[in-house]
């Protein structure tokens, strides 16, 4: 677990949107999906996922419905709304720009300056 990275503030929402964009999921499923798509390299406190989910629902980015999980347990499923999909696209673009900029800045060699 020691080599897992701490999440930057605000990035959890982006990860949730991304995980759900691949298909409706329940809370635990989202956690697993994030682990899967990030190669288990991110440290997320499990409970911390839920306030994020409620926030996104309140902002109208996610919609919910109750269903049954693969373990045969009743669970609440989350899916992207149209707004959510648009927001994910915008956030992804701005994230990529940020990463590119920070990356470029950090990889600059002394002789290039």
């Amino acid at each position: 677990m020691g080599d897992q990275a701490q999440l930057l503030p605000g990035t959890l929402d982006l990860l949730i949107l991304r995980a759900v964009s691949l298909g409706p999921l329940h809370g635990y499923g989202i956690l697993l999906r994030i682990g899967q798509i990030s190669g288990n390299s991110l440290l997320i406190e499990q409970g911390a996922l839920y306030p994020g989910l409620f926030r996104l629902v309140r902002q109208g980015l996610l919609k919910t419905s109750w269903g049954t999980s693969e373990n045969n347990r009743r669970a609440k499923f989350y899916a992207l709304t149209a707004t959510g999909r648009r927001r994910l696209r915008e956030e992804t673009e701005s994230w990529n720009r940020l990463v590119a900029a920070i990356g470029a800045a950090l990889s600059t060699q002394p002789e290039e300056v």
Binding site: H26, G47, Y50, P51, N71
Partner: protein, 885 residues
């Protein structure tokens, strides 16, 4: 919406809320179950799997609450929880809660009263439409509000900046309806008065400019609403009825609306009468004399005209007046000021006083907040265990702070409501108060929305002020430290801030106590000073014979009969007559130029003195108790046919003639050129205000200057009430239609002492508030310091520390802070003593008695406040403490 369906809706929302809660619980549990399922599949037992799933999930309660907040539905609910919890916590420590609420109630109550006064006298405009465009017009550099009627007509007709200028004055008259005479107060007003002020009649009509056709042409009368209700029982057939003012018939034409109280704030007249008919209704000025300054002017500015423009306009008329009437109007100039308090005459002192009072009240509230901040900080330290536990259980710091703020708000609002209720009581008392017996003062202090808003705002602001004090402490709190050490280490947290608060509070209290000592001394000195008359054992009968139709020569004859009748009564020592009472409000404008006998050009610059003039009868000096230093009093031979004579006071004698002895038999001149011979010298006295320096005064025989409005001074050792009844009967026997007032001279003096008394009462109240706050503040601080260091003190005592050392350890810092704050308060009080001397007559903080008083009382307060904590520190039993641990 019907009640039933509203209830159903409410129940439904409640149900929905609990439904959402249940859903949240189910979702979180489902997560843990699924995680446990996965873990179980990897080979762990179900029990171990569930345990590990719960641990991995993290703080269940915290996330549940956060979800609640994130969903946005939790606010109202958690506020309700906070409120319930705050109530429970406060109920658990009733003494803390009571002290806190009372402290705030005092602070907010004082502020409500001070604010209402300020609101009534300064902030609130006159109760007429568009009052903000109304201004009083004052004359000259000395800002004299009184103008003459001819000047008024010129100003009214020649200025362009005003929609209208009204003139008015206050006077008294005898009103008789159906043969019953009573005294009444009225406004004499210009014909355009109601039209310019834009007031509409409640009943009937008002009079207008078109009703005026010269002197005594408009015998009309408009009743005030309250007088109509009280005196005419709200009879709506009143319009058109004839009543008699000083025996002249006047017709009631209408009733003013209830909200209209005239153009002065402190007084509601009984009715309004046109100024042109004032001669028949108790008016004393002359409509045709430019030198007769007796009316006040209020103008309504045209829209868009600035004060500066209007002043220029007025002064151009002033230039015209000065050119055309150089005798009366030389160097005349005008200025504008706010109306309602006789221009600046009352306005300036009233504004100074109410602003001063308001600042002191705010200081009290500030001290109360500092006090409560201290208490809260101390309590927060005591509650660190509870807070640490809540933090450890996953409560967010924000939630805990909100909880503390809720408690602060709860205390503050309760205190605010209590304080406001107390303030309303005090205001009601002020509302019905009759401070000056000879004049119906009415302070319009009935609270309005602004008063309530001010109370609410001061409650909320105080809650924020003292509620925020422990915040820093809470933010720094680390649960594990607290759990480890058992309590918060107080010497490092929040102490600096608390020290500052305590010093601030003690300083403020020091200022307040200094202020009240100055006021007490001032009043004491003014009461002890020699009035130049003896108010004890004297009754006054005030009459205006013109109210009963005694004009010209009939008045002195009737006065003679009154004096003779009274003198013949048993047990009467002396009876005297005077046209003016010393220290009566009317004496404020009693200024007469006197000249040396050698002066020929009788103009103001050449005057030898400005003297107060009183016209008195033979036995006045004996009746008033004014001592004659030398010479003789008047006799009945000093009448209109004999040479003019006068008795002067000591100051007059030394100012004009060098000494009392030299004055005898010498002559001086009055402004009208008449030569007056000095036949006696009387002691100095107080004539205008209690606080005045000795000033020249002269007494003349009333037979040489007859007047119908007089006071009879009756000196007697008989019981006042019984004597009053006897005098009353005699007077009614003399003339049943003559209105009069009868009271003791001491009661009459209440008016003169009114200002000093108001200052005295309010400053002493503030001083007492300040003292109470200081005691509770120091007590809280000291007892908290002792309770924190109880263990240490026990160890010291066990190791053989002496009582003195124990006390020093326990209370040293509290006493040092107290001393520091007291000195600061005293120094500030002395520095601000100019302000204090202004509002409290003859008071100064540099008075050694005041300084001693302040120092002693601060020491006494310190002693009282630290007594119990000190006793507690000394009675520490080390054995018991050790056993407790």
């Amino acid at each position: 919406m019907s009640i039933l369906s509203s209830i159903r809706l409410r129940v439904a929302t409640l149900f929905q809320r609990s439904h959402a809660n249940a859903e949240l619980e189910e979702e979180l549990r489902s997560h843990i179950q699924q995680r446990a399922d996965d873990l179980e599949r990897s080979g762990v037992t179900r029990f171990a799997a569930e345990r590990r799933a719960r641990i991995e999930f993290g703080s269940y309660q915290r996330f549940r609450e956060e979800c609640h907040d994130a969903a946005g539905g939790g606010l109202v609910e958690s506020l309700g929880q906070d409120l319930c919890f705050a109530l429970r916590v406060l109920r658990k420590s009733p003494s803390f809660t009571t002290i806190a609420i009372l402290t705030l109630a005092l602070g907010i109550g004082a502020n409500s009263v001070a604010f209402s006064l300020m609101n009534a006298l300064i902030l609130r405009p006159l109760d007429v439409p568009h009052a903000q465009s109304l201004y009083s017009i004052e004359r000259g550099q000395q800002k004299d509000p009184a103008q003459s009627y001819p000047d008024y007509r010129d100003l009214r007709d020649r200025t362009r900046s005003f929609d209208g200028i009204v003139a008015y004055t206050i006077t008294r008259v005898g009103l008789s309806t159906d043969g019953n005479a009573t005294g009444a107060w009225l406004y004499l007003v210009s014909g355009n008065y109601f039209d310019v002020l834009d007031v509409r009649p409640y009943l009937g009509r008002f009079f207008h400019s078109s009703d005026e056709h010269g002197e005594n042409s408009a015998p009309y009368l408009v009743l005030s609403y309250s007088y109509w209700q009280n005196h005419f029982q709200g009879d709506s057939s009143i319009v058109g009825r004839t009543v008699f003012l000083n025996k002249h018939p006047f017709t009631i034409v209408g009733v003013a609306p209830p909200s209209f109280h005239g153009t002065e704030m402190y007084f509601t007249p009984n009715f309004w009468v046109p100024l042109v008919s004032g001669g028949q209704a108790g008016g004393w000025g002359d409509l045709n004399l430019r030198a007769s300054h007796y009316i006040w002017l209020v103008g309504r500015l045209k829209p868009g005209i600035t004060i500066a423009q209007a002043t220029t306009d007025l002064n151009s008329v002033g230039t015209y007046l000065a050119e055309n009437y150089p005798l009366e109007d030389r160097h005349i100039s005008f200025s504008l000021t706010r109306p309602g308090l006789i221009g600046d005459t009352l306005g300036r002192p009233v504004r100074a006083f109410s602003t001063g009072l308001m600042s002191l009240a705010l200081l009290i509230l500030l001290a109360a907040c500092a006090n409560l901040g201290n208490l809260f900080a101390a309590r927060a330290a005591d509650r660190s265990r509870e807070v640490a536990l809540r933090l450890a259980l996953g409560s967010s710091r924000r939630r805990i702070l909100r909880q503390l703020m809720t408690e602060a708000m709860l205390i503050s609002l309760t205190g605010g409501v209590l304080g406001l209720l107390g303030g309303l009581l005090a205001l009601h008392w002020l509302d019905v108060w009759q401070p000056v017996p000879s004049f119906p003062v009415h302070l319009p202090v009935d609270p309005d929305a602004r008063t309530y808003a001010a109370a609410l705002i001061s409650a909320l602001v105080s809650a924020v002020l003292f509620g925020l004090v422990p915040v820093r402490q809470m933010l720094r709190l680390h649960p594990w430290h607290v759990v480890k050490s058992g309590t918060l280490n107080t010497s490092t947290v929040g102490m600096g801030l608390r020290d500052i608060l305590l010093v601030l509070q003690v300083t403020v209290c020091g200022i307040l106590i200094t202020a009240s000592f100055v006021a007490v001394r001032g009043l004491q000195q003014s009461l002890r000073s020699n009035y130049g008359f003896l108010p004890h054992h004297a009754l006054l009968v005030e009459t205006d014979l013109s109210m009963a139709g005694y004009d010209g020569d009939k008045a002195p004859a009737m006065q003679r009969r009154m004096l003779d009748t009274f003198e013949a009564m048993p047990g009467i020592d002396a009876v005297g007559l005077t046209d003016r009472m010393p220290l009566d409000g009317e004496n404020m404008v009693n200024d007469h130029l006197v000249f040396k006998d050698t002066t020929t050009e009788l103009r103001a610059p050449n005057a030898a003195a400005v003297a107060v003039v009183q016209n008195v009868s033979t036995n006045y000096f004996q009746a008033a108790g004014t001592a004659l230093l030398t010479g003789r009093v008047f006799t009945r031979q000093d009448d209109a046919h004999s040479p003019r004579v006068a008795v002067v006071n000591r100051t007059f004698a030394s100012k004009l003639f060098g000494s009392v002895e030299k004055a005898m038999g010498r002559y001086f001149k009055m402004a009208d050129g008449s030569r007056v011979r000095v036949v006696g010298v009387a002691e100095d006295g107080k004539y205008k205000t209690i606080a005045e320096q000795p000033q020249p005064a002269l007494f003349q025989p009333i037979l040489q200057n007859p007047t119908s409005a007089t006071w009879v001074v009756v000196r007697s050792n008989r019981e006042p009430r019984e004597l009053a009844a006897a005098l009353d009967q005699k007077l009614r026997h003399l003339d049943p239609a003559l209105p009069f007032t009868l009271r003791t001279w001491e009661r009459e003096l209440d008016g003169a002492l009114f200002a000093s008394r108001v200052v005295f009462v309010s400053l002493s109240m503030l001083g007492i508030f300040g003292a109470m706050l200081a005691v509770t503040g120091i007590f809280g601080m000291a007892s908290y310091a002792v309770s924190c260091r109880l263990k240490e003190l026990g160890i010291r005592i066990a190791l053989g520390a002496q009582r003195r050392e124990v006390l020093q350890t326990a209370l040293g810092s509290a006493l040092r802070l107290l001393a520091f704050g007291s000195v600061a308060g005293l120094v500030l009080g002395v520095v601000g003593s100019n302000l204090l001397a202004f509002i409290a007559y003859q008071g100064t903080a540099r008075d050694p008695l005041v300084l001693c008083g302040v120092v002693t009382s601060m020491m006494f307060l310190g002693l009282v406040a630290t007594w119990i904590p000190a006793a507690r520190a000394l009675s520490v039993d080390p054995l018991e403490l050790l056993r407790e641990e």
